[in-house]
């Protein structure tokens, strides 16, 4: 039983986030009025995992895998079709509007594009202080002092406060976005591809910043990325998602050292080896592209691309089963 295996991973007292069989469904427009209405599209389908206090779960998947939807569901911004999400012991899908707003203080987003997510007409000080005002935590001089403290925390000079986001580089904007997320002292940050839009030399700075802030503040992260190399340096555990389902989840070193799902192996194989002396060692890539034809839903969604697929893979959905303590994979052949 997957749930009982999952329960072993995080000490219940330290458990902060728990997804139990969560599906998010979006209505699909019919192609024309005489067509039958298509069934809702399940962006994620039966996703279960837990995240402990101060822990980072890296979520990796390709575009359309549902990785961002997992983050949106946790932020209360996606319609749940099944399952429930609990945060700090409370079921967030059952919360009233006011209670949800109070809870939002504890779960903050950091978005991918620091160019699009900061209001260019606001001063940096006001951008960072806004959540403090909204949640009634601080105002005036007190908020100003908190902004100075936050800028220092994310490694920005204090004169940043009076400037506008337009005058900053991508890396500095992402630091502003992180300072804003931290303003209300959240327990949890959902970071959706926070370094993908940044220059190579800046990525490492921001990844290090996430690590340092976690050590200092004990904040937990859901860190979403499309690349296994990026999440490695921030994650304690990693979930690999494919076509809306968790393909594999486990401790970081187990995922990189002994991947159990053929899709995880394919993602690892796809990363170029940054050493010309080892050219040609990268294993051949899996063929095909990610697609989600509805009629293949009886089986494993990766089966059409999988080099190991057998008859059962096309007929039955593989359960997420333990391959080692705390290391689960949904594959009939692993």
């Amino acid at each position: 039983m997957p749930e009982s295996e999952m329960a072993k991973q995080a000490d219940p007292a330290k458990r902060l986030v728990e997804f139990t069989d969560v599906s998010v469904a979006y209505d699909v427009q019919r192609a024309a009025f005489w067509h039958r209405k298509p069934p809702p599209f399940r962006a994620i389908d039966g996703v279960s995992f837990q995240i402990g206090r101060g822990e980072t779960l890296g979520v990796v998947g390709e575009s359309g895998s549902g990785k961002s939807t997992i983050g949106k569901a946790l932020l209360g911004r996606a319609p749940l079709a099944t399952g429930n999400i609990s945060f700090d012991g409370r079921d967030i899908s059952k919360l009233s509007g006011a209670a949800m707003r109070r809870l939002r203080r504890h779960i903050q987003p950091v978005l991918q594009d620091p160019y699009a997510s900061l209001n260019p007409r606001m001063r940096v000080a006001d951008i960072i202080a806004e959540p403090l005002l909204v949640h009634g935590i601080a105002r005036g001089k007190e908020a100003e002092a908190r902004v100075a403290q936050l800028l220092n925390l994310v490694g920005l000079p204090s004169d940043t406060a009076s400037r506008h986001p337009g005058s900053f580089s991508g890396g500095q904007r992402q630091r502003i976005g992180i300072a804003r997320a931290l303003a209300v002292e959240p327990d949890f940050i959902v970071a959706d591809e926070p370094v993908s839009a940044l220059d190579v030399s800046i990525r490492a700075q921001i990844i290090n910043l996430f690590r340092d802030l976690q050590q200092e503040l004990g904040v937990a992260y859901l860190f979403i990325a499309h690349d296994l190399a990026i999440v490695r340096h921030v994650s304690h555990r990693i979930a690999v998602v494919y076509a809306g389902r968790v393909a594999e989840i486990g401790p970081r070193d187990a995922i990189y050292g002994s991947p159990q799902h053929p899709y995880t192996r394919a993602l690892l194989d796809a990363v170029p080896i940054p050493d010309p002396a080892r050219r040609g060692e990268r294993r051949p890539t899996i063929r095909g592209e990610f697609g989600r034809p509805g009629d293949e839903d009886h089986g494993c969604r990766f089966a059409p691309r999988c080099p190991l697929a057998t008859k059962i893979c096309r007929e039955a959905v593989p359960p997420l089963a333990a391959k080692a303590p705390g290391h689960l994979a949904a594959c009939w052949n692993s």
Binding site: D199, P272, P276
Partner: protein, 337 residues
């Protein structure tokens, strides 16, 4: 006499006029591409790597302008206007593949129409022959049922397939040089690997020279023979790929290599380069990297000259890292690793 390089760029300067004034995006770039070679041009956004190649293709448009510099193709000047060479060579003998295939393909025309147009213009083929050749090209880039797919519109293909079609179009005129500008950046990880494998295969099969413009050192390691590292509009280091990775001479190159998240090291803190890339309209005096450089000293306020380090290596730095060892020793270093 040695034959001239396939492509040669000498002291290229490209400027852009903005409301804040004129700034130089490319500040005196010289490079060459030999027949059959794959040259990697590595740099971050704003380093001038794409603009340099756009100048070669004659794609610099106002407010951009080529201020200075010579470009030669097989030793002959790529003559043209202030905005770049005429389309005679660019487009036929030099073809370019861009990052975003969706914006480079016409969404209203079938891919068949778009590929046959290239074939008619550059190869003078008639309709039937062009159509047959277009399916052949699609098959070459790994698209199954090419005859049927010729009638599809670009949006009917996935991102990876569109990038394959872009490559087929670029190859239609049978170019000698293919410039690939971040050809995999917009794609999913497993599709990136497919396109990299396809580029390597086509290069070997068709004896193409390739210029790969990228920010990804991993791609460079996989595909390139030689590398030019750009920073703030200049080439700061050139080297054969093995030497560059084994013993980078420029502190920026070394920083880039160290800060890469990789799969094969311990998962501790990354070694980051401090600071941010400079604003091209407001560059530090002298070496543009000095404000971020751990090795910077007072003399870095003067423009560094490019020092020839021998065996095809060059570095523009007053205080390069440990002088690279001679070639024979290097080979042993590799063998020992």
């Amino acid at each position: 006499m040695t034959p001239p390089p396939l492509l040669e760029i000498e002291d290229l300067v490209v400027s852009f006029t903005t409301r804040r004034g004129v700034f130089e995006a490319v500040r005196g770039v010289s490079l060459h591409v030999e027949p059959g070679e794959t040259l990697g041009i590595v740099g971050e956004s704003g380093s001038g790597k794409s603009v340099t190649m756009q100048a070669v293709m004659g794609l610099i448009e106002a407010p951009g302008a080529i201020e200075r510099g010579a470009m030669r193709w097989n030793g002959e000047p790529l003559s043209g206007t202030r905005h770049g060479p005429r389309a005679a060579v660019a487009g036929r003998e030099i073809a370019m593949v861009f990052q975003d295939a969706m914006t480079s393909l016409n969404p209203l025309l079938t891919v068949g129409v778009q590929i046959t147009e290239v074939l008619r213009r550059h190869k003078g083929l008639k309709a039937a022959a062009a159509s047959a050749r277009a399916s052949e090209l699609l098959r070459l880039v790994g698209i199954t049922n090419p005859e049927g797919r010729l009638h599809y519109l670009p949006h009917q293909f996935s991102g990876g397939m569109r990038q394959r079609i872009m490559i087929a179009m670029a190859l239609a005129a049978e170019p000698a040089l293919l410039i690939a500008d971040e050809p995999t950046t917009a794609l999913d990880v497993t599709i990136q690997a497919q396109i990299v494998d396809l580029l390597a295969e086509l290069r070997d099969r068709l004896h193409l020279s390739v210029v790969l413009v990228t920010h990804d050192m991993g791609l460079v390691a996989e595909l390139c023979d030689r590398v030019a590292v750009m920073y703030a509009g200049r080439i700061v280091e050139t080297a054969p790929v093995q030497e560059l990775f084994a013993a980078p001479a420029h502190p920026y190159t070394a920083g880039l290599l160290r800060s890469m998240p990789r799969l094969d090291d311990s998962a501790g803190r990354l070694e980051a380069i401090e600071g941010s890339p400079p604003d091209p309209s407001d560059l530090p005096e002298g070496c543009a990297f000095r404000t971020r450089c751990p090795r910077a000293q007072e003399d870095c306020i003067h423009d560094p000259l490019t020092t020839d380090l021998g065996s095809g290596r060059g570095v523009a730095c007053w205080h390069p890292l440990a002088p690279p060892v001679a070639h024979g020793q290097e080979a042993r270093v590799h063998a020992g690793e």
